[in-house]
């Protein structure tokens, strides 16, 4: 008993001494580094960035480089974009559900010089699948609803009048399945493949990458839905009022003002010019809710 007690006492003492030794050695090391660091010019030893500083700042601005605006009675934190004059305020909610974002990012459109910013703007509230994915070969989706950007679950139409323009925490998606329990158009196989593909990206060959890339995009259409398909007074691709838009807003989206604007921008859309013979998309069955 006495031996056991002596052993446990010694063990405790060992831990105790070990703890204090680590604390004191750590503190002494920090103190030495800190104090010696106070000598000399603070710039000495600071390397200059080798990367393209402007582009790098652009990337950082969207992630962690926030600045505080002190306005006396209130303060706010906003991303600082190099050379951006207007205030941004808060940043928009990222889409955690849509796996396309993981590779393409939230600003994916860049090909059509005239339309790209507008198309990216629509990314705020329309998922990629609406325009780029077909329900089946040659059949465009006709049923649409809203999916929560965090959970990926279908939800009711958002209250658009209360929120910020285009930011509802949800996005429009094509729906499939029974009418009473519709689900977002599923790309489960592609998503699972894409996740593994990303993980193994460094270990596969270039030709394997091409094949994998094709598989991930196998349900994507060559000629996506055009702006003029939605902004069409006669037969708009999206059922605005069914999606919760007010009649006034729905009318505006297909008004002459918007339609004319779209037409003028679409004139410059290169893919159309390069693929003039693309067959027109066949529409899927009518939305029973419409």
């Amino acid at each position: 008993m006495s031996k056991k007690s002596s052993f446990s006492k010694r063990g405790f003492l060992f831990l105790y001494v070990g703890f204090w030794s680590v604390v004191l050695i750590g503190a002494a090391t920090w103190l030495t580094v800190y104090l010696t660091g106070t000598l000399g010019d603070p710039l000495t030893g600071k390397g200059s960035r080798q990367l393209d500083a402007k582009a790098f700042d652009s990337i950082l601005a969207l992630t962690d480089k926030k600045v505080v605006r002190y306005l006396g009675e209130w303060e706010f934190l906003e991303p600082k974009l190099p050379g951006h004059f207007h205030h941004i305020g808060r940043w928009y909610q990222s889409d955690e559900w849509n796996f396309c974002i993981e590779c393409h990012g939230p600003i994916p459109h860049s090909r059509s010089l005239k339309e790209r910013a507008f198309l990216n703007m629509h990314n705020l509230f329309i998922s990629c699948q609406v325009c780029h994915v077909q329900e089946s070969q040659g059949v465009a989706p006709r049923r649409f609803g809203w999916v929560d950007m965090t959970t990926g679950k279908p939800g009711p139409n958002p209250e658009m009048l209360k929120g910020v323009w285009g930011e509802y925490g949800a996005k429009i998606v094509p729906l499939t399945g029974p009418v009473e329990n519709p689900q977002p158009l599923s790309l489960t196989e592609e998503q699972e493949f894409a996740e593994e593909f990303r993980q193994r990206m460094n270990s596969i060959s270039d030709s394997q990458k091409v094949i994998g890339n094709k598989f991930i995009h196998r349900k994507c259409v060559e000629d996506p839905v055009r702006c003029s398909s939605c902004h069409d007074a006669q037969n708009p691709f999206l059922p605005y009022t069914a999606l919760g838009y007010s009649q006034e807003r729905a009318d505006f989206l297909v008004s002459a003002e918007v339609v004319d604007l779209v037409k003028r921008y679409e004139t410059f859309h290169m893919p159309n010019l390069l693929n003039p013979q693309a067959p027109p998309l066949e529409l899927g069955p009518e939305d029973p809710n419409k």
Binding site: V17, W20, S48, A55
Partner: protein, 602 residues
Amino acid sequence: MKHSCVISKWQILLLALAMVICLPQMLYAVDAENCLMCHRFRGLARVDKEGDYRLFYVDESLFSQGPHARVTCRGCHADIEKIPHDDAQPVDCLRSCHIEEPTREIIFTHAKVRKGIEDSVHAPKPDDGAAVSNPDDYPRCKDCHDIPLFRPVSIFKQVRAGVSERAINRCTQCHSDENFVRYFYSHVTTRLHKARDSREVVTMCASCHADPAFARRHNLPDVVASYKETYHGKAVQFGSALAPDCLDCHASQDSVHEMRAATDPRSSIHPENRPATCNAQDCHKSASPALASFDVHANRNAKTHPLEFGVGVFFVIATLGILLPILTLNILGLIREIYPSHHAEREIEHLVKIAEKKAAREDGLWRFTGSLRLQHAFLVTVFVILCLTGFPMKFSDAAWAPAIYDLFGGIHGAPIVHRIAGVALMVGFAVHIILIMLNVRRSLKREGKRGIRAWIGAIIALPMIPKKRDLHDLVVWTKYVFFLSPERPNYGHFSWKEKLEYLGLFWGIPLLGVTGILLWAESISTHILPGWGLNVAYLAHTYESLLAVAHITLVHIPGVIGRPGVSPLSCMVINGKISPRALVEEHGGEVQTFSAITEAKS
């Protein structure tokens, strides 16, 4: 019927007249060109071929809260003539925009800024007509400015900063358009103080001046780091609107656009103009012109600031030279606790029995008197307050600093608490010395001794003054912890460690006190010291405070209450008593002494 028709015409006429008069005001914060139809969406963005992220979003609510709220989009983006539009050209900030300058009914323009900028350090023109090196480094409007926002102040009591509803209510009694009243009120009251918070100003200047590559290209020191280490910089970081930012010194008189190099005789920081800048009415009004030699951008570079470097090296060596050997001995001492020598163990057990007998006989072993415990408690309290109000200032960049500082009232309260605690420490220290002197006097009187020699002898004989034996004890202890000797020193009433700490107070408290007062009363200080004396005082204060805190936290606390058998708390400073084992382990010599006295008596 006819009559009503006439009134109707008048009504139409009046309505038309009112519209003509009020139209510009009605357009306030109204997107006349409907640009926000697209630009109100945060996602309106693209990535350029060069990789630049271009955002075309305009936050409507923020845009309406600044002086540009009345400027239409085309007022700045004048090249846009049709919708849909092509890529907009960069905005010329100096163009005339479409709003009227209200005092003179002329079209408003920022063009006057051009002259100031062209004559400033930010747009140099080499005398010999040579090309400017690194022209892209010189700032354009957008490098320093983003769209301004109102920061209105309230001029009414009991109202926080911002738009005063009471003021607005009074204005709208006569002026009917509340939108215009709010705009006007915000615009004017924003101009009553700095247009931008000092923290934003420092961040703005730092975007270039803290960039190492930029500094190297232009052969500039890191002025931002050195500024942030001054009281000016730290106070600004804590949100003080009174502390000066870059613009307050570098453009103290003229427009901020007319900032000039320190070598330019017109510059507010030119050596000849510096006294006037520092001694300005709202700054160091009563300071001597000598204050101008205080270097706000002093770093510790051996070449450019040898004095500051020398002071820094002295304190770094002093701090590490004192702490590292003691810490090494303490850590080795802890390890030796696990593997004590049999000789030491036997001796300790023997002395513990003697001490236990004495404790039983005298109802405990007394170590500290009530007066000493009171002084210790006072010292602990004041020390903690000084740390809590001083270290957030020292490490003002740290995330924890504002939270602790706010406990003491932030930048407007904590420095006052710090100074009060500092004065209390000085007074307590003086009282301690007086009490010692009174004891010495009483002792000399009892012994019938007089004269300066007797005083010196009595002071040297005080138990806290190091003696030859302490050096011997140190050597024995060092050999013991290095496993070179089985013999453990038996310290007397005070060990060499305690004496070293005690003497440290006689160095640290006066040094911190004097330098603290010099920095506190900086204007008066400059009548007896040159400005650079404050640079030295600051360095001495900041380094010494770290030495003191490091010693207390790394040596005193682990050494006194962190020892095995004592941790987590020694009651000695509370009830004045020490346990027999602790007395033997730390002051075995004292036990040996009273054992010898007891034996001699018996």
